[in-house]
Subunit: 147 residues, 2 copies
Amino acid sequence: MSDPKLTNPLEYLLGYQLRRASAVMMADLGTALSQHDMRPAEASILMVVDANPGCTQSDVGRTLGVKRTNMVPLIAALMKADLIERSAVDGRSQALRIKPEGEALVAQVKATVAAHEERFQSLLESAELLSVTTSLRTLREEGAPEL
Amino acid sequence: MSDPKLTNPLEYLLGYQLRRASAVMMADLGTALSQHDMRPAEASILMVVDANPGCTQSDVGRTLGVKRTNMVPLIAALMKADLIERSAVDGRSQALRIKPEGEALVAQVKATVAAHEERFQSLLESAELLSVTTSLRTLREEGAPEL
DNA sequence: TATTGTTATACTCTATAACTATA
DNA sequence: TATAGTTATAGAGTATAACAATA
């Protein structure tokens, strides 16, 4: 082999650590959600609709940072899976709700996400966890370009 | 409008905050690097090769968590841009080095990355910054599936 | 047998531009 | 004019499977 251990100049970069840690958690979440044939983006939409019955898909997109145009196929997939339903608010907006038939799966998805979270949160001291989530929120809010 | 502010049940999830904060920093880095016609993945490879002259692309991939198969087009782009060069180590491995003509751009890229980092690190207290980077490393190392 | 580099391919997520219909 | 939803499309990034050449 050429050299199994290289020096990594990115190791002390905040953006790099964020990227790698996020990738680890996303991969784990993706694996965990695959048992429900669900992608992380779909699960997050499902959870927001569940917490905000009657919201529109544009509302959900703004909340999660997903563009309207990219919400379309995600909502379509959830409709096709009979997990959510739409009802017209006015001529252009449609209220989203979890379908009664979807409630059970939504509950399972929430439990899967909670277990995944617990697995990673338990790797940190509670003080560190608080510090991290606070800092991440700061980076997101202060560092984000104004919508 | 339907409702500009929804309740977001993901707000207290570590994975979600990680995902959003990482997206903010990656978007900013992407914008900053576009002045050099460079993508974040390419810049990270350039920095690793710069710090480890003579390493192979498989070495770089292992260091950055990029699969061999996905290294191919990235290395090809850097070769096409005349930023790196290859020399045969043996019949199957090739040593990578920054081309003399590429040194100036590599220096600019490193400065751009450093400025981007400083912009975000300055949003956090130094104690918080240390806590965050330590925690992120823990999540990555303890939470990653064994390669 | 294991590793390097490669091709081909597919999936997930994100991005822009442009259109319609409604408010 | 601004907003909601849509289509079409492109681009990153990541994934698997398979192969040839070499160690």
